[in-house]
């Protein structure tokens, strides 16, 4: 099956599905979607972003984003990277074995710490849940469906947090973890333009997706984005990728981090 799809070239009408951008999408899903978009841009593969209220239910694994290419549907960055590789495009072929191991380890660090912290903030911090998450998550649906869906999702996420031991953490501890993660990323990046020097890889796409979203999303407080701003090489990294891969494209450019006085709010 993989051989037959590998033979087909990348079609013009490839589409990436996510939730509604203005009203519905949450921090964590936005970050994941941006990571995939960045990755595809780096591979020079065109993709259309399609927003659907029920994108989560359309996805084969229940997680977002997912891409629809030809007659294949693939969700989440990991499988998408492999799928794209089968079609002959790869960003990490030039790495040696040890570097590939490092790359995979750092990607797990982002998933393990940053993504989990985003989920915690969205679903376990009561203020954020009441004021941002609940109104947004169910917004396309009428009452009482909107409340039911968001409570169901909250219950699911809290179960997962409990299983991995994050339920007992306070917000301060979570922010501490984010800081540790950013410190590690900052130290690894150093003064290089990308994590593996001259060429971006899927790790750069993933880190960009999460950090850029954290920096440009307005939440209840600025504590989360402040943690990232502490590391100037990380903010410069985000700016660099944004300028290189997103500016000049009309479709769906993320707002620049600097210049404009009013931060474009992805939430609220």
């Amino acid at each position: 099956l993989l051989l037959s799809t590998a033979a087909e070239p990348w079609p013009e009408n490839a589409a990436l599905y996510q939730q509604l951008k203005e009203d519905q999408i949450l921090l964590s899903d936005n970050a994941s979607s941006l990571a995939v978009q960045a990755f595809l841009q780096m591979c020079n593969l065109p993709i259309q972003v399609v927003c659907r209220a029920n994108a989560e239910y359309m996805s084969p694994s229940g997680k977002l984003p997912f891409i629809h290419v030809g007659n294949q549907v693939v969700s989440e960055l990991g499988p998408i990277v492999q799928f794209v590789k089968a079609k002959g495009h790869s960003l990490s072929d030039g790495l040696d074995e040890v570097q590939k191991a490092e790359m995979k380890a750092y990607m797990e660090l982002v998933n393990n710490m940053l993504l989990t912290a985003e989920l915690y903030l969205q679903w376990c911090d009561d203020v954020t849940v009441e004021e941002i998450t609940h109104p947004r998550y169910g917004s396309p649906y009428p009452w009482p469906l909107n409340r039911i869906l968001s409570y169901q999702k909250q219950w699911e996420v809290r179960r997962k947090m409990k299983a991995i031991g994050w339920a007992g953490k306070t917000l301060d501890q979570v922010l501490e973890d984010v800081d540790q993660c950013c410190q590690a990323l900052s130290q690894r990046l150093g003064t290089q333009p990308y994590f593996f020097n001259k060429q971006p890889t899927e790790l750069d796409a993933l880190v960009f997706g999460h950090l850029f979203t954290i920096l440009t999303t307005q939440l209840i407080t600025d504590e989360l984005s402040e943690k990232v701003k502490n590391y100037s090489n990380l903010t410069a990294f985000c700016r660099r990728i944004e300028q290189q891969y997103f500016e000049g494209h009309d479709k769906d450019s993320p707002a620049p981090v600097t210049s404009r006085s009013a931060k474009r709010s992805l939430l609220r």
């Binding site: 694994s61 191991a101 797990e108 998933n111 393990n112 179960r159 299983a163 991995i164 690894r188 150093g190």
Partner: protein, 311 residues
């Protein structure tokens, strides 16, 4: 530093100071950093374990979870990461995340979810370490928590197939072992000649897979194909724990190797027989019955040396 620090954790077997990955990590780190820990293994006569194990008690402070315990030890000036560069410190965090995301699910599955392993090895061992009546309840609870964790972090939305999840987590675990092997290369420890936090974590996760004799050995077989990781575990055991090499007779290791060869031969034979049966598919019931009895015989041969070896 003058205060005594006590660590409560699960005990060991099969040449390991502990069977529990997190307990092992903390014990290894304490040895690496020279921290004087008084180790109390949970036994029948001790008070019932509650909350997370391992637990460090120093004066009035009670700390659980390996990461926090290690942080505490570092603050007490027992720091094994002293010579690491900033990048190596960052790498440590990344590799620990890799272990937790990719290796831990399969480790939990091998110990607590795989039915044969759980019933014949894990449950009896843990039950014998805890006082009655907790021994009836606690292993079951740990098993349910392990399955829960695996499903919540790796399972897809229902309806999912448990066997697909299992296949995926073992694939990920094998890939993780390969990545660790490549990273370690030919050095003695991950960052040069002295062991650090990362070595403690890797040792904590790998040693149980390496040493514990389970009926279902998928992960162990894969690990044994990566000689530098095996050497890594053996080095730490012999240098820092002085248990396996001197504590057990070399005869035991030879017996281990013989049993492994026997298992491999038996597996090869049963594979050949399966192939023959597929070819001669005339009466479906006969071949499968023959196969079952042969497998039972193979199982019988395997399990009796195992029973003799386990203390």
């Amino acid at each position: 530093m003058a205060a005594t620090m006590e660590l409560s954790c699960w005990g060991g077997d099969w040449g390991l100071p502990s069977l529990h990955p997190e307990s092992l990590t903390v014990m290894a780190y304490a040895k690496f950093s020279g921290a004087p820990l008084k180790v109390n293994t949970i036994s029948n006569s001790w008070r019932a374990p509650k909350g997370d194990i391992p637990v460090l008690i120093s004066e009035d402070i009670v700390i659980s979870q390996p990461a926090k315990i290690l942080n505490f030890l570092r603050k007490q000036k027992y720091n094994a990461d002293y010579g690491l560069s900033a990048k190596q410190g960052a790498d440590t965090l990344a590799y620990i995340a890799l272990l937790e995301e990719k290796l831990l699910p399969a480790l939990l599955h091998t110990f607590w979810v795989e039915a044969e392993n759980y019933c014949s090895v894990t449950k009896p061992w843990f039950a014998s370490s805890i006082a009655f009546p907790l021994s009836l309840y606690l292993p079951g609870k740990m098993s349910r928590e392990a399955l829960n964790r695996i499903l919540l972090t790796r399972g897809g939305p229902p309806p999912y197939s448990l066997s697909e999840v299992e296949a995926q987590i073992y694939r990920d675990a094998k890939e993780c072992l390969n990545l660790l092997s490549k990273s370690l290369g030919t050095s003695q420890f991950f960052f040069g000649h002295t062991p650090s936090t990362l070595d403690a974590f890797v040792f904590g996760f790998l040693a149980p897979i390496y040493k514990v004799c389970f009926p279902r050995l998928q992960l162990q077989e894969h690990l044994k194909q990566l000689p530098n990781l095996c050497r890594f575990c053996d080095d730490i055991l012999s240098c820092y724990f002085r248990l396996t090499v001197s504590g057990h007779s070399p005869g035991l290791d030879i017996a281990d190797a013989n049993m492994q060869k026997l298992t491999q031969l038996v597996n090869k034979e049963s594979n050949l027989i399966e192939k023959m049966d597929d070819n001669l598919r005339k009466s479906p019931q006969h071949p499968s019955r023959k196969l079952r009895t042969l497998k039972l015989a193979a199982g019988g041969e395997e399990s009796s040396p195992l029973n003799r070896l386990s203390p």
